[in-house]
């Protein structure tokens, strides 16, 4: 088994020998992974990669607290209209998904996914201790537990499975808690052109400088690790991002993910985000715009990866207060709704929280969030839920 240190030593050795070019010719698939824009050869590993397992996971995090109740809408429940007042959506404009629910009017392509059996809706997802704090709730959500919020569940999956910085990739920055493990972190890539700049001689030295932890503090060694991982990511990813314009939209970020999936990277999990869901005021217009962005991006992305076994999970740190406030918005709330799209067990999952049994005005949690993380860990990434979430995590749902 190759440890990260071994790989860096290998890399240093290759750089020191000036053998990068020779090694570049040894890539198993003979493609252009060894080259950077400009045709330079990178001093990086060319060890054969494990064959890609079947499932690819894409986590789309909506920051700010997406209004679950106006995303998957209980249109047939008279209490919905009474509690939501002016923010209640007109049932005629929504898209029926059965069992008394309908999708927000902006979710047109999502409705097409539903009709195509490619959408799973999980109702009432939250955790014991939802406290309306964005930051605590998002930390718990990404940690996948409540007692220790120093690592994310994707990061602990990385800790468990191996050493390749390409196992998981985050588009953008800074690195979310989700992607940070005890020993490893997901790789991160720009939402735009991937340029290293500098010349081979410089990068050989940077790689050498970053390859040895001798005499450094733990934090300095973490800096060095991020740099040496960069060369692994660069060699594989940069050819696919070479001529790309900076992506300013969710659709653009997901298009990058689609390109990387099409390029057959070893990457098993991707994370992207969209911000702005904290709709305390003027929600009708703002939320419509945000959901339209999600809808268009998701629809286009799944078209781009048609034929691949890809599961997208769309989630947020909490839902919003059932009753609207008087600023035309909603305040922080309780349980949320998670959407899974692509390769999924289509249909409704979990018990919809009843509107006549609220917790301090919020939707009650009926599904522990770990049952959703566990579902994709087991059925997309192929690892036992308990190995990442601990043995006290509840049984995963069967969503994929």
């Amino acid at each position: 088994m190759t440890t990260p240190l071994d790989r860096r030593r290998f890399l240093q050795g290759a750089a020191a020998l000036g053998a990068a070019a020779a090694l570049g010719a040894c890539t198993t698939d003979g493609d252009d992974r060894g080259s950077r824009p400009g045709g330079q050869v990178t001093p990086t590993t060319t060890a054969p990669r494990a064959p890609r397992a079947e499932g690819i996971l894409v986590l789309l995090t909506l920051y700010g607290g997406n209004d679950a109740l106006n995303t998957v809408v209980p249109v047939e429940d008279p209490r919905y209209r009474a509690l939501r007042g002016a923010l209640a959506l007109d049932p005629a404009a929504t898209h029926d998904v059965g069992e008394g629910f309908a999708l927000h009017p902006a979710l047109e392509r999502t409705k097409a996914l539903w009709d195509d059996d490619r959408l799973a809706i999980v109702h009432g997802v939250g955790f014991d201790g939802l406290d309306r704090s964005h930051f605590h709730c998002m930390d718990v959500w990404q940690a996948g537990r409540t007692d220790d919020l120093t690592t994310g569940w994707m990061g602990r999956w990385l800790d468990a499975v191996g050493t390749d910085p390409l196992d998981a990739l985050v588009v953008g920055h800074p690195l979310p808690l989700l992607a940070r493990g005890r020993r490893r972190s997901a790789g991160a890539i720009p939402a735009g052109p991937f340029e290293l700049g500098g010349g081979d001689a410089l990068h050989d030295l940077v790689a050498r400088m970053s390859g040895d932890s001798l005499g450094r503090s733990a934090l300095a060694d973490a800096v060095a690790r991020s740099t040496s991982d960069l060369y692994d990511v660069a060699a594989t990813v940069s050819p696919h991002l070479a001529d790309r314009q900076p992506a300013t939209t969710l659709a653009g970020r997901l298009a990058i993910v689609a390109d990387l999936i099409a390029a057959d990277l070893p990457t098993r999990a991707y994370a992207v985000e969209l911000r702005g869901f904290d709709t305390h005021a003027s929600q009708a217009e703002v939320h419509h715009g945000l959901l339209a962005e999600v809808d268009g991006a998701l629809g286009t992305f799944l078209d781009l990866v048609a034929g691949e076994r890809v599961t997208v999970v769309v989630s947020s740190e909490f839902g919003r207060r059932v009753a609207a406030n008087d600023s035309g918005g909603t305040d922080h709330g309780g349980a949320g709704t998670v959407l899974l799209a692509g390769t999924v067990r289509a249909g409704h999952h979990g018990d919809p929280p009843p509107l006549d049994d609220l917790v301090a005005g919020d939707l009650r949690t009926t599904v522990d969030h770990r049952s959703v993380h566990g579902a994709v860990l087991e059925d997309v990434l192929g690892i036992a839920s308990a190995d990442v979430l601990g043995s006290d995590a509840p049984e995963p749902l069967r969503l994929v």
Binding site: D147, R180, L205, L214, A224, R225, A281, N325, D331
Partner: protein, 450 residues
């Protein structure tokens, strides 16, 4: 003790002082050129702290950086697409100008600790131009943070509670009698003053405020609007004059009473001190013994400059573990590099800051920017290398970096680093020229940690 031994001890003590002062200047003043560190160290560590913490003096060098000019806000007619487009273009231009202005100000300042403190308060009361839109309003908030930042914390909170940018950012202007909007009230208690009591299973038993406090604080803060002179003004007709109870105080409470109740609550000082200590010294929660000790003093007068001085003079601030405990934030890295090497940030610098994920006036959310490991990814590593190469291209010379064998020593002194580890030192000596050597030094792990 013979003469030689005395001399050796003295030079060792001087080296220790210089190392401590370099650490002080890195953390509290964005770094400085080596001669400036020498000068501060010559007077001793305590004197250096006093010099940095003298925030009352004016700073003509910082004030000489011209702030952007703001076009008068003309509400564009909703049905005039040309005017709307023009307005959007102007908003974007003013935003970029404002962001570059502050970074340049940080670089030019003679009192960089004042800029650092202002940036810490910006991070604490994190408000983003993404929602506020108007650059002039953000500029005004900056003035408030800058002018009131060194003084009493309760006064600063009071000013933030009726700051126009904040009234937009957290919807305070929509918060009115009979129609409370609790966005600002919640963050006031959770982030700005009290905190949530830390993490863990029993956090709810320790949370210093309740949902009822949030609801009644929101009612007490109703009626604040943005007046014609772009000032926070109370509209009595929109204020809830009824009885509320916030953190144990009951009455016809308003903004004054809520700010007083929150800033005098026993949880306030440890929460605020933990935040500032974590950014300047090492990550710590409100229960940390050093934080508790500093919070005892802060609770007495809530004076930010006194807190700053006590942090920088605390023995734990100079402990080896503290010195290795932080990753430079992108702003620290960019401003520190420019101050140390004498470069001037430009549009390219700002693009690199965007790439690194930290641009002033645009925090990701109301909790401010993340810290430490969040800044370590393959992507920040990539942009840090580009930043290093870009700065090095401007200033590197044989004279600056020294002959190959001496580069590790010369560059460590230049960048305010104690020493490079063997791997970095070997790379520096092997670099094909001064430009590569300086690039390597700037991108080195030793330089990226604060």
């Amino acid at each position: 003790m013979d003469g030689a031994e005395v001399a050796t001890r003295r030079s060792r003590a001087l080296a220790d002082t210089r190392s401590a002062v370099a650490h002080l200047v890195r953390r509290a003043a964005f770094g400085a050129p080596p001669e400036e560190i020498d000068a501060l160290a010559a007077a001793g560590y305590e004197a250096a702290v006093e010099t940095l913490c003298d925030l009352a003096r004016p700073d003509p060098a910082a004030d000489a950086v011209p702030p952007p000019t703001f076009a008068p806000a003309t509400p564009a007619a909703a049905d005039d697409p040309v005017a709307r487009q023009e307005r959007a273009r102007r908003v974007a231009t003013e935003r970029r100008a404002l962001q570059l202005w502050w970074v340049r100000r940080m670089v030019a300042a003679d009192r960089p600790t004042h800029e650092k403190l202002t940036f810490l308060w910006h991070d604490h009361f994190a408000t983003s131009i993404d929602k506020v839109r108007g650059a002039e309003r953000m500029h005004r908030q900056h003035r408030t943070l800058h002018d009131l930042g060194p003084g009493p914390f309760d006064r600063l909170v009071h000013a933030m509670a009726r700051d126009p940018a904040m009234l937009v950012w957290l919807d305070g202007r929509d918060n009115r009698a009979g129609a409370p909007n609790e966005n600002f009230a919640r963050e006031l208690l959770e982030l700005f003053t009290l905190g949530t009591g830390g993490h863990g299973h029993d956090r709810h038993d320790r949370q210093p405020y309740t949902e009822a406090d949030v609801a009644d604080a929101a009612r007490a803060l109703t009626g604040w609007a943005i007046g014609p002179g772009d000032e926070g003004v109370l509209d009595p007709g929109r204020h809830d004059h009824g009885t509320k109870t916030v953190l144990g105080t009951t009455g016809a409470l308003g903004l004054d009473e809520v700010v007083a109740a929150a800033t005098r609550h026993p949880a306030c000082a440890p929460h605020v001190v933990a935040r500032i200590w974590s950014r300047l010294a090492r990550p710590a929660g409100p229960d940390d013994p050093v934080v508790q000790e500093l919070a005892d003093g802060f609770a007495r007068d809530l004076d930010a400059t006194s807190l700053l001085r006590r942090i920088l003079l605390h023995p734990d601030f100079l402990a080896p573990a503290t010195r290795a405990a932080l990753v430079k934030t992108p702003v620290d890295l960019v401003v520190g590099t420019a101050r140390t090497l004498g470069t001037t940030p430009d549009e390219t610098t700002m693009t690199l800051l965007v790439g690194l994920g930290q641009v002033p006036f645009a925090p990701p959310d109301v909790a401010g920017w993340p810290a430490n490991e969040a800044w370590l990814s393959t992507e920040t590593a990539r942009v840090r290398l580009r930043l290093a190469a870009s700065v090095s291209a401007q200033v590197a010379s044989e004279e600056l970096v020294g002959p190959p064998a001496e580069r590790p020593t010369t560059l460590a002194r230049l960048l305010g680093i104690d020493r490079f580890g063997p791997a970095s030192a070997a790379a520096l000596r092997a670099a094909p020229g001064p430009r590569a050597a300086l690039t390597l030094a700037l991108a080195s792990p030793e330089h990226v940690v604060a």
